[in-house]
Amino acid sequence: MASISIQHLYKRYGKDKQNVVDDFHLDIRDKEFLVFVGPSGCGKSTTLRMIAGLEDITEGEVYIGEQLVNDLPPKDRDIAMVFQNYALYPNMSVYENIAFGLRLRKQPRHEIDLAVRRAARVLEIEPYLNRKPKELSGGQRQRVALGRAIVRDPKVFLMDEPLSNLDAKLRVQMRMELIKLHKSLGATFIYVTHDQIEAMTMADRIVVMKDGIIQQIDTPEAVYQTPSNTFVASFIGSPQINFVEGKIVEEPGGNLLFNTSRFGLRIPKDSADLLRKHNKIGRRITLGIRPEHIGPEGLYSDSVLTGIYKVSELMGADRFLHLDIGQDKPLVVRVEAYYRCEENEKLRIVMDMSKALFFDADTGQRLTH
């Protein structure tokens, strides 16, 4: 059993300083792959280090299994950690690096040898066991760091941006291997990253953080489709979600319209009920819509608007058009890669309004049923 319970965790450096981590409250299930994601300085690493015992807890409690670990040194928490810069012992060979933790635990020599070789086989680093870390490439070093973690068979794996020093191709490969590793080990993984793609691809659940405060805890699908606020909506997803500022007006027929100075978009009944419930008629609102829910005219039935084409980004299979629709930021639209248009050409596009998200214009919170 390696569930982790984090109860109202706070971190402050100094008495009157700002909270680096603010009321972090979370239950992590056994064998879960949990990812903390957020911009740098959002407190995700600090939280991880508090779980590891590398950082003092200002307030709150951390339980690993049933045990309160607040005052337990890292070595007694039955955890393993992988660091961003690998943190391999430069004075020891790869073999010694992996065996170090077992040796300190006074395991018999033959068991250590067996465990090291097994870990090396899993991670395909057997040929390098006698080398020093400085003779290895980044990817190999990262494997050694993982080997050092898995060899101890801990209850919980903590990973602090382990892939951010690798090149893009290797990162994709290691991502898949980490997923496999998690499945085969059956341990709890807590993974910290600032890369939302890593979070989306690997996590069972994602914890999105900002300024030390949890913004949302949910599955990758839910975080993407129903973000709790504009921050989460903009942080998750690439390219970013589009935000359009406007006002809700009621048509004579009783339909609701999302109105900007340039265009009006009809709101489907479901969303209209939501807006009525929150009493938003006649008020300002932020509409969020992802690039894949906008397209050239003909795709969706109504809600046509016109935008002026500025630039496009080709991603291989898709092309993202940046259109000026009279807002501060351009509207990003996903189209097929073969789609071509002239600069400053006026394009008629449609939005799938059933996929549109509505956020409170002042607080940034998404309106929910």
Binding site: K75, I79, N85, Y89, L104, R105, R148
Partner: protein, 296 residues
């Protein structure tokens, strides 16, 4: 095959022809400078084997013309006459120097590690105090040192040789700068692996800092091997005094300045050789320290 050849070519050291004018000039300057630095060493070696008439030749010669062992014999004769055998002085020096190297490196490293990697109240003050002591000339602290040594009752013992040498501020400073560069995550990884603070120190910090420790060891050795102060101040009996002190007495207190010059020349060679040996053994590590700590 061609690929292999080009690889080998790439790995070859830059040749003289591959250097530009500035690099050539720099190389030449460094060669001249190193020859200049080498001169005293060559002189010491030659001087030791000059017979008397060459020792006082005017103008003095640099290289020995007729090498002889006359000076060695003279030194042996002097030591044969002295009440305490020379081997006793030598033992004192070797024993004290070996212990001093161990203690100084140990104390400096144990002091540098917490100063660099642990936060505790007064850490800044302690480090500032250590830096401050760097600025005192040794003569300034002679009297307080004497008072301390005599008050704690270790006069005329090996402890009195060792105690004043043990605290070497430059050693602490050098090691702290080096430990500063060890990434914290390395120590944290070890702690998570199950290492206690002492194990972290012994298995991670010390091996990683080996170059700096080698440098401190050399400094400590030189400090202790050439030390005559503790012998002069704290040692009452002759048999407790160091070899360096004994050699310094050869030419001191003599009415004329010709007698014993030969023995003194050999003595300086004997004093110098261990330094050279220690340095040659540890030099590659020392260069790494200089490169790391930004001192050079």
């Amino acid at each position: 095959m061609n690929a292999l050849r080009s690889l080998l070519k790439l790995r070859r050291r830059p040749r003289l022809s591959a250097m530009d004018g500035f690099q050539k000039l720099l190389t030449l300057l460094l060669i001249v400078l190193s020859v200049f630095m080498l001169l005293p060493i060559v002189y010491i070696f030659n001087h030791a084997f000059k017979p008397y008439h060459e020792l006082f030749l005017y103008p003095p010669t640099f290289f020995v013309q007729e090498p002889s062992l006359q000076n060695v014999n003279e030194l042996l004769a002097v030591t044969a006459r002295s009440t305490v055998p020379m081997i006793r002085y030598l033992f004192n020096s070797v024993f004290v120097s070996a212990l001093a190297v161990l203690l100084v490196t140990g104390v400096s490293a144990l002091c540098a590690f917490p100063l660099s990697k642990h936060r505790f109240p007064g850490a800044g003050f302690v480090f500032a105090a250590i830096l401050l002591t760097l600025m005192f000339a040794p003569e300034v602290v002679q009297i307080p040192r004497y008072l301390v040594v005599s008050e704690i009752g270790i006069m005329n013992t090996y402890f009195a040789h060792l105690l004043p040498l043990m605290a070497m501020p430059i050693g602490v400073f050098l090691l702290k700068q080096f430990v500063d560069q060890i990434p914290d995550s390395l120590l944290e990884a070890a702690r998570i692996d199950g290492a206690s603070e002492f194990v972290v120190f012994l298995r991670i910090v010390v091996p990683v800092c080996m170059p700096a420790i080698a440098t401190v060891a050399i400094l400590a050795f030189q400090n202790s091997w050439g030390n005559i102060e503790t012998s002069a101040l704290f040692m009452l009996d002759d048999e407790m005094k160091s070899f360096a002190f004994f050699l310094s007495t050869l030419t001191n207190n003599l009415a004329n300045n010709v007698a014993m010059q030969g023995a003194a020349a050999v003595a300086s060679l004997i004093m110098f050789v261990p330094n050279l040996i220690v340095f040659v053994i540890l030099q590659s590590k020392v260069i790494a320290t200089m490169a790391h700590s930004g001192i050079k």
